[in-house]
Symmetry: C2
Subunit: 231 residues, 2 copies
DNA sequence: GCTGAAAATTGATATAAAACATGTTTTATC
DNA sequence: GATAAAACATGTTTTATATCAATTTTCAGC
């Protein structure tokens, strides 16, 4: 089990969440109160679907997947997220259990904030509330477009979308050292590992991407975007 | 084009949204200001994806579908909703365009509320904000489970889920006069009309449902729930 | 550098659902 | 009430992707 530590306070934290920038010093102290900092290893469960969501979990550093667990081991990855993301906001003012499981793709440091303290702050600070709502809505809209992608596009369109997402949103570079296994990519695209492998092969042959070990480079973004749009 | 009318004010409205019950009289007057009431006929577009979301649209009476429009006429229905639902909340504090299109399944009366007035109220009334956040989160969680259903279940599981949803959430009765065509049901389950027809036939043969014209009765809820869970 | 296990690829086959084609019923219109 | 049109049903073919099986590559641990 990882050992909690407290390197910095919220007030002087440099990797502060966008939302938390709306808080003044006394409000930052309120959430600092009872804050926990924990580091998870690759593959470890950060929060478990169905468990009591007593805290909101801020990703300070790292890279995670959020997924819904079905009956027969059938899971669906809702989203992949990195530092700056707040896990568990969906449990605010509702049934306070986690609606998904979060697992670290690589070593991940998080801060835990008391859910009650957070909802108190929402009442005190309207622009904080506005930022949080904006954040929630961003997530929702992203989940809508994921719903569209997975139900309306076929294999190549889905992979194109995931690759572009990794390049644009996660790694923010056309070339990246992929921390994900084929199994992870297959889960993200909702394909079998074998089918995924074939689509990757096709993309390589079509000179859309260059794969070298764990490194992926998007070599023809225009065409990949086309496939994402129309595939 | 339907003609706006104002039968009642927000203050004395009997079909008030759950959220709006948090507002006091002066706050209700604030949203009453500039409110519009409009009735749409079956099949009419209530809001269009991509258009400026200047208003939040409250469904006072009726039954609608919200869907995302893709390129080649490929649409995906996000949800079906009836009276009490607020359309466009997802555009609060973000890019204020509608992220989906809403179409009336039957004659539908709505109230339009100014988005800006609504966000002002959020600052004034914290418990109103809390209720709205709760509402947003409910939607999000429902969209997660839809994502799961459509990607992990096959035809019979999907239809079972939609039928149960119609019975439980929309019509609130085991027997209902379905306003939806097969094409609508096919869109909801993300199946072709032909495949849908076959699954319905199968359900009839298995005595899970009784179909008589436009009326559907769920005759074996237990087994339908099983199929929904495991299919 | 070797060795075994896990991960990834590749090929062959199976399958669920789409697409196509055609027939039947329901609904709307004159 | 006749007729056209739309909605629905059903049988056949096609297709995308899963599954199964076999092989190759990668990588950690000795």
């Amino acid at each position: 089990m990882p050992i909690p530590e407290k390197s910095v306070t919220c007030k002087n934290c440099l990797t502060k969440s966008e939302c938390f920038k709306e808080l003044n010093d006394s409000q930052l102290e309120m959430i600092e109160e009872g804050r926990l900092e924990v580091t998870f290893n690759k593959g470890e469960v950060i929060c478990k679907q169905g468990m009591l969501a007593s805290h909101v979990i801020y990703i300070k550093k790292g890279f995670v997947k959020l997924y819904i667990e079905g009956n027969n081991g059938k899971n669906i990855i809702l989203t992949i997220e990195k530092d700056g993301y707040l896990i568990g906001l969906q449990s605010l003012f509702g049934k306070n259990i986690f609606h998904y499981t979060a697992v670290a793709y690589e070593e991940t440091t998080v801060c835990l904030f008391d859910m009650k303290a957070l909802s108190n702050l929402l009442e005190l600070n309207a622009s904080f509330a506005a930022k949080l709502i904006a954040r929630l809505n961003e997530n929702t809209i992203r989940s809508y477009s994921r719903l569209f992608c997975l139900t309306q596009k076929q294999s190549s369109g889905r992979l194109a979308e995931i690759l572009l997402c990794l390049s644009n949103r996660i790694y923010q570079s056309p070339r990246f050292n992929l921390a994900l296994s084929r199994k992870d990519l297959a889960e993200l695209t909702v394909l079998s590992v074998e089918s995924l492998s074939r689509v990757i092969k096709e993309f390589k042959e079509d000179k859309l991407i260059i794969v070298d070990g764990k490194t992926i480079e998007i070599s023809d973004r225009k065409r990949l975007e086309m496939i994402c749009e129309n595939g």
